[in-house]
């Protein structure tokens, strides 16, 4: 296992170097002049030039790159111009918000999608199978901002069950002292049940939105891989030996069907983390996706570079975890390495 991890780590380095170079060049290739943007509406040419010098954008590209890499070495990702804060602090503050939301949505989604997928495979062609198909198709075809707005409209505006969509906590709650950055976890660690409830109630609607969206890939993948496994010899043998269907399906079939499901989960997680921008916008969620998009709109280089870098590192870690999980689920993978 350790050799596996260290070997994967070695592969990461060239990846990251590539990411650093490409993000740097891509952000510079964006249309738009940050100096003109941040000089404000009333700035003349001279004022724009002053800003450009202050931002170091008057230097040749290679010098800017050198400075960027040197800063990276000191773990300095630069300053965001749109929010005025160091990028590293912003990512540190915002990543847990996005991660908490995504994880919550994913767990919610898994708890619905996996049973639904198994059931659809076992009762192939039944009404459950069709329901599963309809739910999955509907979920993936509704754009997230639409589901989000619809949920807000129904549960907040019409029914008043849900609290105001104002981010992670109601305005009159203060966030729990930061331990993990996950409000649910931190408030429980502090035995602060009212904050926990407040955080949970804020999390429900956006979590549900993400859940609806990610139902499709997980259900479909579970169903497909279950179907393949259910048709295989060892399942037939198990059933023929008189094991009850629960043991056959959950212990023998599902365990073998889990590999592709875990892969999909990993992909869905990383995809949601970066792509839930719209959910973050709708629910005023202070996450990393909306941060990156706002920066992009303003040609604000540093956060975009920091975001891509953070995402790259996250992907690498995620893949590593999935590889390790493979080994745990399926001993054959372990033997091959």
């Amino acid at each position: 296992m350790l050799t596996l991890i260290s070997r994967r780590m070695m592969l990461v380095i060239p990846n990251l170097i590539g990411v650093v170079i490409i993000t740097f060049l891509l952000t510079r290739a964006l249309p738009g002049d940050p100096a003109a943007y941040f000089a404000g509406p009333a700035a003349d040419k001279q004022a724009i030039e002053q800003i450009r010098v202050k931002l170091g954008l008057d230097k040749p590209l290679i010098v800017q790159f050198g400075r960027y890499v040197a800063d990276l070495g000191h773990l300095n990702l630069g300053n965001s111009l749109t929010t005025g804060q160091p990028v590293l602090t912003e990512i540190k503050n915002r990543l847990p918000a996005s991660a908490e939301l995504t994880l919550f949505g994913l767990i919610l989604s898994m708890s619905i999608a996996v049973p639904l997928g198994i059931l659809a495979a076992v009762k192939q062609g039944s009404w459950i199978d069709h329901t599963c198909r309809v739910v999955a198709t509907a979920g993936v075809s509704l754009p997230v901002f639409f589901t989000g707005l619809l949920l807000v409209y129904v549960f907040y505006f019409l029914l008043g069950w849900s609290p105001a969509p104002l981010g992670r906590l109601d305005v009159f709650f203060s966030p729990p002292p930061q331990i993990t950055g996950f409000y649910l976890v931190d408030s429980l660690l502090n035995r602060d049940l009212s904050t926990f409830r407040a955080a949970l109630s804020q999390l429900l609607l956006p979590g549900l939105t993400l859940c609806i969206f990610s139902l499709a890939p997980i259900t479909r993948m579970t169903r497909a891989s279950m179907l393949a496994v259910l048709a295989s010899d060892f399942v037939r043998t198990a059933s023929a030996s008189g094991l009850d269907s629960r043991t056959v399906i959950l212990t023998y079939a599902f365990r073998n069907a889990m590999l592709p499901v875990v892969t999909t989960l990993g992909m869905v997680f990383s995809f949601l983390l970066g792509a839930n921008v719209l959910v973050e916008k709708v629910f005023a969620w202070p996450g990393i996706g909306s941060y990156a998009v706002e920066a992009l709109i303003a040609s604000d280089f540093a956060p975009v570079q920091g975001f891509v870098l953070a995402m790259a590192i996250l992907y690498v870690l995620l893949n590593l975890i999935i590889d390790v999980l493979y080994g745990i689920i399926d001993p054959r993978v372990r033997l091959e390495t």
Binding site: G32, A39, I51, T82, I112, P115, G160, L208, A284
Partner: protein, 539 residues
């Protein structure tokens, strides 16, 4: 798993989702809510200091409420019956007395005034702050320059309580320019402690912290999420504000901002689409105040340096082909002040903005196109800033449709917000729509920037006219010397020339729309168009 078990667990999950949502407020929180104002807006500040590099407009709002200036404006009742700043009447803020001489103005500072950390405000602080404003470059220095305030030598601390500004030249904008947001007074001793060799003005510190004597101080700021401001009970600049705490949350989705207002959870919001404001107004559950931008205009500009818009007849044809009323109705839902279709014999007024006499008249436009030598029209592009696509896009589509009727075939060019100023500053866009507005509400101020031949960046049309320049210069001199007759003549002169030559076609004055709960009072319109928390009250 049996089918029935699964269904049971699934419905249990659904039920728990619905039930666990709690009531929004507990009674204990109702009290603090009464003394707190919740403001929701699309974006928040990126810097708490208006002298900072690239401070955005929400940052101006923080500066306005957390810092004092020497002087401010009195209030009057605006044309819509709401409080409106009086551009001609000044009131002391940090100063207790202002004495305007021939070539200088002298202020006596309030003796009791202190900064939020308790140190007294002295003339030294005022000098340091104004020196800072003219030295840091960028927008603050530009704005100071607009009032002929350019050099630190102009600012003199006579003694601890007396401060003098020497005029560089006679300019009627100098004193008004001391009442805008930029010349705010900063706690110099506190900021100097945080200054470094690389950052002599302590800008890194003031970016994150407010160091003023103003009515509010920033208690916490999470960029892009929330700003919390608390009242400074020792404020000397005016009567103590009624609201103890301001919570300003960023809610990017306009639909949600409206929902928050309608549900009564948010107290004030001001950047909603026009359609929402119209509907909210009809509903009548909220107070909606609409005020036209002072000295601000949305216009269609034409590049007069290059053909075909170098031809005055083509420009007039465009002015006759714009679907003014359709834009007012379908794009703005009536929430703007029209600047077109003045009655033909209406006299030109000594005022700006004022309506021109063009109306949508396709036949006349076609005739002008033929006279100009373009009977078959031509192809061009119509550009707009995507950052304000909500208004700009439908406006441009309507204009495109209408121009096609007189043979001007346009391709719409959507420019991303970050790129808009760069594109505009190149002065090569043939046809575009844009907004200009000035803090200082004087006709000649608008014309110096937008029409004068010295070709500032706001003269986006590259318009050059000796006649106009003479009128503008004449008006500036007449204003400085107080020669009203010449001033009136010159203002009428440059307005008439601008409307005859038509390098840009004014469409309307946009409205600042503010929606608030019925129990919120004290909203006032300011030249900067942001909120002044000091007069706002609840209940």
């Amino acid at each position: 798993m049996k089918r029935r078990d699964f269904l049971k667990s699934a419905s249990a999950l659904a039920a728990s989702t619905a039930v666990s949502a709690p009531a929004v407020f507990s009674p204990a929180k109702a009290q603090s809510r009464q003394e707190t104002l919740l403001i929701v807006s699309e974006s928040g500040p990126n810097n708490l200091d208006i002298h900072g590099v690239g401070t955005n407009v929400p940052g101006y709002e923080v500066s306005w409420n957390c810092y004092d200036r020497l002087i401010s404006h009195e209030m009057k009742t605006g044309s819509n019956g709401q409080p409106y700043y009086d551009k001609n009447k000044f009131k002391p803020e940090l100063a207790e007395d202002m004495n305007i001489g021939d070539m200088s103005v002298t202020f006596k500072l309030k003796k009791k005034a202190t900064f939020q950390d308790g140190t007294p405000v002295t003339a030294k602080d005022v000098k340091w702050s104004l020196d800072r404003a003219v030295s840091v470059g960028g927008f603050p220095t530009f704005q100071m320059g607009a009032g002929s305030l350019t050099k630190p030598e102009q600012f003199v601390a006579v003694d601890d309580n007396t401060f003098r500004v020497d005029f560089a030249r006679k300019d009627r904008l100098t004193v008004p320019d001391l009442a805008v947001i930029v010349p705010c007074v900063v706690n110099s001793e506190l900021v100097k402690k945080h200054a470094t060799e690389k950052d002599p003005w302590g800008m890194e510190f003031t970016k994150q912290n407010t160091a003023g004597s103003g009515a509010y101080k920033v208690a916490s700021w999470v960029a892009g999420t929330e700003v919390v401001l608390e009242r400074n009970d020792a404020w000397m600049g005016g009567p103590l504000p009624k609201t103890k705490k301001i919570i300003w949350r960023m809610v990017p989705s306009a639909g949600n901002r409206r929902a928050l207002l309608e549900r009564g959870d948010a107290d004030i919001s001001y950047d909603l689409p026009n359609k929402d404001f119209v509907e909210l107004k009809q509903d009548g559950k909220l107070t909606i105040v609409s005020t036209p931008y002072s000295n601000g205009i949305q216009y269609i500009g034409m590049n007069v340096k290059n053909p075909p818009f170098d031809n005055i007849k083509v420009r007039q044809a465009v002015a006759y082909a714009i679907p003014y009323q359709k834009i007012m109705d379908a794009v703005l839902f009536g929430l703007a002040k029209p600047l077109f279709g003045a009655v033909p014999d209406a006299p030109t007024e000594v005022a700006w903005p004022q309506p021109h006499k063009y109306n949508t008249d396709i036949a006349k436009a076609k005739a002008l196109m033929a006279e100009a030598g373009y009977p078959n029209g031509f192809d061009t592009t119509l550009s707009f800033d995507l950052g304000f696509a909500g208004v700009n896009e439908p406006l441009c589509v309507l204009t495109q449709e209408s121009l096609a009727q007189i043979g001007i075939r346009t391709t719409i060019n959507k420019v991303p917000g970050a790129n808009w100023r760069t594109e505009l500053n190149k002065k090569t866009l043939p046809l575009y729509t844009n907004v200009f507005s000035g803090w200082l509400d004087y006709p000649e101020y608008f014309f110096i920037w937008c029409y004068h031949g010295k070709n500032s960046i706001f003269n986006t049309m590259s318009y050059q006219s000796k006649t106009t320049d003479d009128f503008i210069d004449g008006a500036v001199n007449a204003a400085a010397t107080g020669d009203n007759a010449t001033y009136d003549m010159d203002v009428k002169g440059f307005v008439d020339t601008a409307y005859a030559d038509m390098p840009r076609v004014p469409l309307y004055q946009p409205y600042v729309n503010v929606a608030m709960q019925k129990n919120v009072s004290g909203y006032a319109y300011w030249f900067h168009r942001r909120l002044d928390y000091r007069t706002l009250a609840k209940g």
